[in-house]
Structure formats: C-alpha cells, structure tokens
C-alpha cells in the first residue's frame, strides 16, 4: 500500500485551527499591550481578554469572575488541588482528598505531593474494568475531614467518561468540593458546570484546536484558593503572571468554534472512531477494546493486543506514517505497564500492549482504512517477530 501520513493522536494535541490563528495574530505585534497597564495599549489587551472570558462563560454557563486563565491543563490541576487544599485546611475544614486511579499525573502527583510533604491524606477510589469510578465507593469514602474530590471527566488513555453528575451530587450533599480534569473532554462533551455540578474544572486549549501553552480553571464563586504561582494580582489574585493575550483570545475562539458546531463534530468523530474500532477488532484475534464501549469520548479508540509490545507497535506504525500513542509509551526504552490498565485489572503483560488511536476533525475514511491495515500488518509482524526471537 502507498505510504500515507495519518495523524491519529488527537488526544496528545490537535492542529491549531487557521481561524484561531487568525484571531490571535493581531495580539502579537499590533495590540501587544500588557493587560495590566493603565494606558490605551493595556486597555486594548484587557478588552480582548475580557471578551474572551465572556465568550467562554457562555459555553461553561458561568460568570466571568469564575474563570482563571492559566498556561494549560497541568497548571490548572495544580492550582485547583494545591490552591484549594491549602486554604481549606488552613480554615480547619480537614485534610482528606479523594481521587481515582485513572487520573492524569498532574492530578495524581499533586495529591501525592500534598500527602508526602504537607501532611494531607488521600483515598483512591476503585474503578471497574471499564474504567468508571463506583458511585457507592465515593459515598463510603467521604469522611468528616474530606475537603476535596478530584475525578477526571474523560480518561486520556482509555477515553472512558466518568459519571460526573452523579458523583458531584454526592459530594454536594456532603459539602465536599469537586474538581474535574476536563482536558480530554473539552471540545467534545458538555462543559456546562451547572449541568455537571462541578466546583472546579480544568481545560487546555490545544486539545480542541486552540494554541499550546494556554488553558483555564473554572472556579465556582465562593470557592477559595491561593495561587500556586504567587506574584502580581492578575486573574483576581489567583494566578500571577502577565496574561497571554493571543493565547487567551485563541482559546476562546477555539471553544466557540467547537461548541457552535458540536453536534456535527461529534457525529464525524464518532463515525470515524467506530469504523476504526470495528475494522481493528474484526481484523485479527486477541485484540480488545479497552475502556467503556459506549461511555467514551467520540474521538477515542484504545486497544490491547496480546503479546505485542506497545512501544514497538508505535515504532512500526510510525514507519508506516501512522501516529498513535500507548499508555506504556516511553522514549527511553524503559516502558512501565500502564497504571490505568493495571487499575482496570489488566495484567502486566497486557498493560504493556496498549495502543491509543484518537481521530480528529480532519480524519477521513481513507485515513481510517489505511490505519486499520497498518495496525493489522504491524501486529502480525510483531507477533511473528516474538516467535522468531524466542526460538533463537
């Protein structure tokens, strides 16, 4: 087959929409002012930022003062968890945090740091074999000193969606704050914070055809947090540092484009995803879909291929022009089994044998067909290689 370049790693990042780039361009050299400055140049930048904030509130169904602009998803997670937990404990509310084993490291490691260095305690809820947190276990885990629950909206490796509304109902009942990392869900799932019932929500622009290096944290009015990066009183004292005017403008534009056209986008993504899943699962034996069959991101397909090293599979796909990723992916040849798959009950060997393919707005049927053939050929080659090498 003729080599074709097929990008199926949209969960890693997406190309910036040219309309987004166009919206950003004036804010580099023309309207370059610092939004904190008092003069007209500053005012111009400030107006652009506040317009962007307004645009975003329409999509999140929130108030402008509830949006904190950050450098991206990881910073938003850090700010939400460390910033909130520090204040809550100082106010004598407790020091217990609840989370799940399928979180992004920005959540997991921030909580672990609070446990290791700052005397907090944590409970990691169990997940089922499809990657969903059990609702009952959350209720059981809540204690008098519980201050915060942080559960991912959609997991990055397996694409499973969490039952956020039901989880948030429980935390509300017990007056525990609820944060969600919505980085993977942004651009595809509803971000209406009233519907979801969350108190804090992290987003990153480059996952929905916006620029890299900009994100936001939604913080419900009345939730107190201290900045994890201290300094000037930007973003109402919650995030120090000169605001990234072009980035913020770009993020708002990207969100606006995503949500004005959401139904059509989701339909296309899900169609491409389903063709990919069907083609790969029917292609050969000992391949499984990981994560939830229906409650999953429209863009997201993830697999486990028995006896196939995920890293080698990526290498073979790369040589064929197909870009994917793996939960055990590692550039230094020292793969660790995917912690997410282990939490779902997969054994070590299977947790080293995963592949994630995430489709995008520009993914075509030809791309999907090519990718199915490339995966099929690569998996077959690698299974044959296993037997060659073992026998020598």
């Amino acid at each position: 087959m003729t080599k074709r370049n097929v990008y199926l790693d949209h969960s890693a990042t997406t190309p910036t929409d040219p309309r987004v780039v166009e919206a950003m361009l004036p804010y580099f050299s023309e309207h370059f002012g610092n939004a904190s400055s008092i003069h007209q140049f500053g005012r111009q930048a400030e107006r652009a930022i506040e317009d962007a904030r307004q645009t975003i509130t329409n999509i999140l169904n929130c108030q402008p003062n509830e949006i904190v602009f950050t450098s991206g998803g990881s910073e938003s997670d850090n700010l939400a968890i460390r910033g909130f937990a520090t204040v809550a404990r100082a106010a004598g509310k407790g020091n217990h945090i609840i989370t799940s084993p399928v979180e992004h490291p920005a959540v997991t490691r921030t909580i672990q740091q609070l446990v290791d260095y700052a005397g907090f305690t944590s409970t990691i809820l169990p997940v089922d074999e499809l990657g969903q947190v059990s609702i009952i276990s959350l209720e059981d885990a809540i204690r008098d000193d519980t201050i915060l629950t942080s559960i991912v909206y959609a997991n990055n490796e397996i694409g499973t969606l969490s039952p956020l509304t039901q989880l948030a109902e429980i935390t509300q009942k017990h007056h525990v704050a609820f944060h969600t990392d919505a980085v993977q869900a942004g651009g595809q799932m509803t971000l209406d914070v009233e519907e979801l019932g969350v108190d804090m929500l992290s987003l990153s622009a480059h996952k929905f055809y916006g620029p890299k290096g900009v994100g936001l944290l939604y913080v419900r009015d009345g939730i107190d947090l201290i900045p994890s990066q201290s300094g000037g009183s930007h973003e109402r004292g919650r995030r120090a540092g000169t605001q990234n005017t072009p980035g913020i403008v770009g993020m708002a534009k990207a969100l606006e484009l995503a949500y004005s056209d959401r139904d059509a986008r989701i339909q296309h993504l899900a169609q491409m995803r389903d063709q990919l899943i069907d083609g790969i699962l029917s292609g050969f034996s000992h391949s499984h879909l990981s994560g939830h069959p229906t409650e999953r991101l429209p863009s997201h397909a993830s697999f486990v291929f028995d006896g196939v090293d995920g890293n080698k599979l990526l290498m073979h796909l790369d040589m064929k022009g197909v870009a994917g990723s793996s939960g055990s992916a590692c550039k230094t040849g020292n793969p660790e089994p995917s912690g997410v798959l282990l939490a779902l009950g997969y054994d070590r060997q299977k947790a080293l044998s995963s592949l994630r393919l995430t489709v995008g707005l520009h993914t075509t049927q030809e791309d999907v067909e090519y990718a199915i053939r490339a995966v099929s050929e690569s998996v077959t080659t690698l299974r044959k290689l296993n037997s060659t090498v073992k026998s020598s």
């Binding site: 290498m315 550039k331 230094t332 040849g333 793969p335 020598s392």
Partner: protein, 366 residues
C-alpha cells in the same frame, strides 16, 4: 544525493563511530532509521547506575544526532533478553570458573539476533553498526569478514560470532576508515560528539566492580577455598575464584621460593591452582562453540593461521585443526602466557576473520 532505495537501521550509541556511520549512510542515500538499545543493569544494586551503553546522556546525544541528520530515532527495550542471555552467561561462566566474554555473547544474541530481527521486521534491508570491521563479498558470492582498516581499533574479534546470513544483512560503514578520519568526518558532518573515554568495564556493571556484582548475583561462587599446586598440595586460601584470573601473580598472599601464578581453576573443588612461571605458558588450546563465518566448517583439516586469544591481543601464528563442526584445536608456534578459558579464540587468515570459539578449561583441553 543519490538514492539507493534501501532501508537501514543503524544502531546508535551517541558516540562518534555510530554517529558517523549514520551520517555516511544518509549521505549515501539510504533511508536511515536510528535505533538505540536499552540494555539491562541492576539499578537496585548499591551505587549501580544505568547500563554504561545507554545512559540518559548517551540517549539524549543519540537522539540529538538523529534529529540533526533528520532521521527517526527509537529506543528498543532490550533489557529482558539482555539479562536472560548476556548477563546469565556472565554469571554462569563465573560459576564454572571461567572468565567469560559477554561482549561476544552480546553480538551473538543481542546485536546480530534480537536487534537485527527487529530491524528486519521494520522492513529494513540492513542493520548498520559503528564497528571497525569490513564486510566484503567474494566472487563466489560468499561474504567475508575482515579486520578494520585501523589496526588499533579492529573489532572483528567480537564479531567472529557472525555467519553468512547476518553478514549479508549488515553494514559497517566506518570499518573502511582509520579512527582519525572518522573524527574528521564527524566534524565534516557537523556532529558534535563528545569524545568519551573507552572503558574496559562491562556495560551492565554500571559503577560496580564485577566482584560486587557477583557477590549479589552469585554469592555461592564467592566462597573461600584452597589454593593448591597441580599435584593437589594446598599452599593457601583464596577469597572466591571469581576474584582471580589466569596469569595473575599479585594479590595471592602466598610465600614460596619462586613467584607463583594462577594457572587454572577447578570450580568443582572450588580450588585455585597455582604454579611457577614455567607452568604458566601453554602452546595449545581447545575452543568450542566455534562459529565459522563461512558457515562451512572444514572438518578434519589442519592449516596454518593466526589466532587471537584476547580482544586487545595480537594474533599469534598457530596451527589450527578442525575437530568437528563446533570444535577446533590450536597449537601455537610459541608459548602463550594468558590462555584464559571463557575468552574467545578467533582465527584469522591475514586480515580475514575465519571464525571464533570459546577457549575451554585446560583440564578439558589436556
């Protein structure tokens, strides 16, 4: 730039030789893929470090060079197979009282088997490495392994494990150059390569001494035992056979009228056998697991050749008798002082490497 429409996986280490090898192949128009093996080391051992062949710095260097050359770069997880073959061989060799040569074993099982097969699976036509050796095809169609142009750098000794199929799928781009020209080529290609000191230590030991390594991985062989003469008379006690090597004089802690040397080891009795200088030299050896580069063992033949018994030794004139498909007998023209069981005995006809085997213990040879 010409295109040869062939795909090559080049084994990169971040060092000058493999980097220049990659650059030469790119220049010659090959489709080049950089690959580095992640090898095993016991990172849990006190003071242990990464495997010396793939430290994070070396990986970063190799990746930077690959980016500079505009080729893809991957790291291949080779830890388990390396542990199961090379490291196991090293430990077992010491258990048997020999001084194993893991580098030959690595070329046999890792580089020209595991890595080569992984390269071929990527639809590569060749695997290339930065070794100083040459592969030429004779008129008969047979592939011939020759020592590198640069005699001081020649690595054919550790490549003597290769056969025809492997040679037909392998390229040694720097084997045709002396080292100083390779350095000049690195400069010409704009490769910023740190010149690292060649270390004699085994890569998987990290910062550990091999004795410390064996203390952890084969404590049973680090037991004290008798030091005896050939006739069995005990003269002292040793600290574990793996601490000694054939020809060693210092550190035995013996007092005798003449200087004493380690002349053999008997792992079954855990005995270190010593003798006087005249007992040390030998003019014969038997090598087994012998690999013929031509794939054809001239069984029954006897011929004059040159034989190398250590990586850095000079090939010595000898008569070689081929006893079977896998065993040869070597009689040297002159006494050799350091015939060490476990090391390779590699047979040359001038610059042509005919093959290599493993030197057997003297008791087996006699």
């Amino acid at each position: 730039m010409t295109s040869v429409d062939k795909r090559v996986v080049v084994a990169m280490s971040g060092g000058v030789d493999s980097s220049v090898a990659a650059a030469l192949l790119v220049e010659q128009g090959y489709e080049v893929i950089g690959m580095m093996m992640r090898l095993w080391s016991d990172e849990a051992m006190g003071g242990a470090d990464h495997n010396r062949c793939c430290t994070p710095e070396q990986m970063a260097d190799a990746e930077r060079i690959a980016n500079h050359l505009g080729i893809p770069f991957y790291v291949l997880d080779t830890k388990d197979v390396f542990r199961a073959t090379v490291v196991e061989y090293f430990i077992n060799g010491h258990r048997q009282g020999i001084t194993p040569n893991p580098c030959m074993e690595c070329n046999r099982h890792i580089r020209f088997d595991y890595l080569l097969n992984n390269a071929l699976a990527l639809d590569a036509d060749y695997l290339a490495t930065g070794h100083y050796a040459r592969i030429h095809q004779a008129e008969s169609g047979k592939f011939v392994l020759k020592s590198g142009i640069d005699d001081n750098k020649d690595q054919s000794y550790v490549l003597s494990v290769m056969g025809q199929e492997q040679l037909s799928q392998t390229l040694f781009p720097v084997g045709e150059y002396p080292k100083h020209e390779v350095r000049a080529l690195a400069a010409k290609f704009g490769l910023r390569v740190e010149s690292k000191k060649d270390s004699q230590d085994l890569c998987f030991l990290g910062k550990n001494d091999y004795r410390d390594f064996l203390e952890v991985h084969a404590p049973e062989i680090m037991q004290p035992g008798p030091i005896v003469f050939r006739d069995g008379t005990q003269i002292g006690e040793h600290h574990g056979l793996a601490n000694y090597t054939i020809g060693q004089r210092k550190g035995l802690g013996l007092s005798y009228k003449d200087p004493l040397y380690v002349i053999a080891m008997n792992p079954y009795r855990n005995a270190l056998i010593v003798g006087t200088r005249d007992q040390l030299g030998k003019d014969e050896l038997v090598a087994t697991r012998f690999n013929w580069v031509s794939d054809e063992a001239p069984v029954g033949e006897s011929f004059a050749a040159q034989v190398k018994i250590r990586y850095k030794a000079k090939a010595q004139p000898a008569n070689v008798t081929v006893r079977s498909e896998s065993e040869i007998h070597v009689r040297f023209d002159e006494l050799q002082r350091d015939i060490t069981p476990g090391q390779g005995a590699v047979v040359y006809d001038g610059e042509i490497c005919l093959g290599g085997g493993i030197i057997q213990s003297a008791d087996v040879a006699n």
